[in-house]
């Protein structure tokens, strides 16, 4: 496919890997990819495996499904079970476990839960079912928040009274800052998120370079994008620079997307604090609807328990999200916690580090032992 194949070209990959190896020789660098989309690409294409040992990728908190705390899932379940409600969600959220089951199970028990590809589909459902109350489970970073915002504006303009939003949008910068301030972590650079940056631009990352002296390179989502970004980060380190660079120039511009940002500002405001799964409460890290949109705010319209639920004891999603442990170092990884029966959110979403490791990465782990026989898969 045009625009895709050229970024998956095997011929471009080998020279890049060689360059990274040459530049990073003798070092032990830890680079965090902030975005779950990058984690997914890294595992889907086996990038860790072709990287030199001198560069270690650490998987960050940018998987929107993974960072939703259990209490919010319970709130979603309560909304979904409210009589007369059609509860709509992105498909990924269906299997995320709350303290009392998942949306998929609530659906099996009779709740009207439907998965949609966009909040506009939920609005369409609301118009088609005027006698029902349609709630959209809004999650995600600045990538998905604009489409929620635009849907809200449309719902307001058209006056759809039976439509509301259960808003769980989060913002990436405070989470990155929390990770930078975390004492148990040493990182040498960041692969910046591509889609989020298409909205917010490149300026919000400057503090990482200026205050923390860490290189940031915003990258696209194909293997060549990621390898190029790693090469740029390593080059900065070698040259003792710490800057925000943009590898994803075909999509990301410095100022971001003004229209999308404006729609977000008109409809949403920062929450004083929000709980992130595994990371705890982070100040000004999430969005809620502005009071003018209270008529569309499910949290204002419905009773939600709003109870904070502690993560299951065995689950180490928090450490995985901060990058302090690798997914396979978690006590329950692959045994009690699998994609079929997830305990933690990181095992649910295809962007979650644990699911990516489990689904795609196990072979790389088993390689040393597996390389013995002649007839072993290469």
């Amino acid at each position: 496919m045009k625009y895709l194949d050229e970024y998956r070209d095997g011929a471009l990959v080998a020279p890049l890997v060689e360059k990274i190896a040459r530049l990073s020789a003798g070092r032990a660098l830890k680079v965090m990819e902030v975005c779950g989309g990058h984690t997914h690409t890294i595992y889907k294409h086996g990038i860790e495996e072709i990287l030199p040992d001198t560069v270690d990728l650490v998987h960050g908190p940018g998987c929107p499904v993974c960072v939703i705390p259990m209490g919010r899932i319970d709130d979603a379940l309560a909304l979904a079970r409210t009589p007369g409600v059609i509860f709509t969600t992105y498909g990924d959220m269906m299997r995320v476990p709350g303290s009392k089951g998942s949306l998929l199970e609530a659906k099996a028990e009779g709740a009207d839960v439907r998965f949609v590809y966009s909040p506009l589909d939920a609005l369409k459902l609301a118009r088609a079912n005027p006698d029902r109350r349609v709630i959209f489970f809004a999650i995600g970073f600045e990538t998905t928040a604009p489409s929620t915002a635009l849907t809200l504006l449309r719902a307001q303009a058209e006056g759809v009274p039976n439509f509301s939003i259960f808003c769980n949008h989060v913002t990436i910068i405070p989470a990155v800052k929390a990770i930078l301030d975390s004492p148990d972590l040493r990182l040498d650079g960041f692969i910046g998120p591509g889609h989020v940056s298409a909205i917010i631009g490149t300026r919000p990352y400057r503090f990482i370079a200026q205050d923390y002296r860490k290189p940031v390179v915003i990258a696209g989502f194909e293997p060549v994008d990621i390898l190029q970004a790693i090469e740029m980060i390593v080059r900065q380190i070698v040259e003792s620079r710490a800057e925000v660079e943009n590898q994803y120039t075909r999509v990301v511009i410095e100022g971001g997307n003004g229209k999308a940002l404006e729609a977000m500002m008109r409809t949403m405001e920062l929450r004083p604090y929000f709980e992130w799964r595994g990371l705890g409460f982070i100040t000004h890290s999430a969005l809620k609807l502005r009071p003018e949109f209270a008529a569309f705010d499910a949290e204002a319209l419905f009773d939600v328990p709003g109870v904070r639920i502690a993560d299951p004891k065995a689950c180490q999603c928090g450490e995985v999200l901060k990058g302090t442990i690798k997914p396979w170092q978690c006590k329950v990884f692959g045994t009690a916690c699998t994609p079929e029966t997830p305990i933690g959110t990181c095992m649910v979403s295809s962007e979650g580090a644990c699911a990516a490791y489990y689904n795609y990465g196990r072979y790389a782990m088993s390689r040393p032992g597996a390389a013995a026989g002649e007839e072993t898969a290469p």
Binding site: G10, W328, G334, T335, S366, R367, G369, G373
Partner: protein
């Protein structure tokens, strides 16, 4: 903190072995995942039906049962169809119901002979649609060379079923010696695929209309008994035949890897995927390897005969796009891998959850 990475795979394998290669059935209710054809479906079948009905023929867990009656080797199978929408580009629920059962018989090496037809109709279903489906069933049966010789009809009140559900069962006869089975893949064997993957699933998804995807592809639904007969007529040894339906090529090959206790490596660069399916999958975040096919064939055979098989497949109307997509290895057992275009490898696991219900 846990030990070295290599130890983790062993622990996962031990956890798998401890449940005897079975997936646990933890849920209290049926969810849509149980219909996905992937892990949850397996846990349901093994945890409920095989557990209750256990017998040597059922325990083989293949797409059909093969048994001998008065000296004749017969194959017997059944399948139900709940596809939504019932009409889609390239086919409809009737054509699917014939081809699906024909293919489940043919992949044992049997010549399909007779089908049964069970129809559950929702009150209010238009008779014109039913005529159309019946004509389509007749046409598909003629095409496959089978006859529908018995049937049943039920009508349920409006809202108690969605339009029309169809069940077909089929009987075929095995006229050749030798066994074709999911458990016969051997190290060194090659994996052949008869055409592009994912066309059916993506077509049905697009035909639902809620994605507003306009694609110029059709369902691949087709009877595979002619193609399989041509393959077996060459006299070349074939180990496994499988039509990768729900759960896609990934799930089908995982079943073979588990049944045969082998490892299967696929080459991403050789996977046939149409630009339309690739594009739709990129947009929707799906992997073509997990999308259903209804008229594609996976063939696993020793390397010596592969040239002849490939030529025969390519000469057949339903195998024109055939190519070698992978190879069978000894270790690590019961796993499928993909060698990526950029030179990495990754595990290709069985489908876990179902993103697309009611695809067939």
């Amino acid at each position: 903190m846990r030990e070295d990475p290599a130890g983790v795979s062993d622990r996962i394998e031990r956890a798998r072995q401890a449940r005897h290669g079975r997936y646990l059935l933890k849920e209290e209710f049926i969810t849509l995942s149980h219909g996905s054809g992937g892990k949850a479906s397996h846990s349901l079948i093994e945890g409920v039906f095989v557990a209750a009905l256990r017998n040597p023929l059922l325990d083989r867990m293949e797409d059909q049962a093969v048994f001998t009656v008065e000296g004749a080797r017969l194959a017997f199978t059944t399948d139900s169809y709940v596809v939504d929408p019932i009409f889609f580009p390239g086919g409809d629920i009737g054509k699917l119901a014939v081809n699906g059962t024909v293919n489940d018989l043919a992949t044992s090496g049997a010549d399909p002979l007779y089908l049964s037809l069970g129809v559950i109709l929702e009150e209010g279903f238009p008779l014109s649609d039913l005529h159309r489906i019946a004509a389509s069933i007749r046409e598909a049966a003629d095409r496959a060379g089978v006859q529908v010789i018995t049937g049943d009809t039920k009508v349920v009140p409006r809202g108690k079923a969605d339009k029309i559900f169809i069940n077909t069962a089929g009987v075929g006869v095995l006229r050749r010696q030798g066994t074709i089975s999911l458990s016969r893949a051997r190290p060194g064997d090659r994996v052949l695929m008869s055409g592009p993957i994912g066309d059916h699933g993506v077509t049905v998804l697009a035909a639902r209309g809620d994605l507003e995807l306009e694609l110029e592809i059709e369902s691949d639904t087709a009877p595979l008994n002619g193609l399989i007969r041509a393959l077996l007529d060459t006299g070349v040894e074939v180990h496994c035949l499988k039509d990768p339906t729900r759960g896609g090529v990934a799930t089908a090959l995982n079943e073979i890897a588990m049944h045969s206790g082998v490892s299967i490596a696929l080459d991403e660069i050789n996977l046939p995927v149409s630009p339309e399916v690739q594009g739709a999958c990129e947009i929707l975040g799906l992997d073509p390897l997990y999308i259903a096919n209804e008229g594609r064939l996976l063939v696993i055979a020793p390397p010596e005969g592969v040239d002849v098989l490939l030529r025969t497949m390519r000469n057949h109307e339903f195998g024109a796009g055939s190519r070698i997509i992978g190879e069978v290895f000894t270790e690590p057992q019961s796993m499928v891998f993909l060698r990526t275009e950029i030179g990495g490898t990754r595990v290709v696991d069985m489908l876990a959850g179902d993103p697309l219900p009611r695809i067939c």
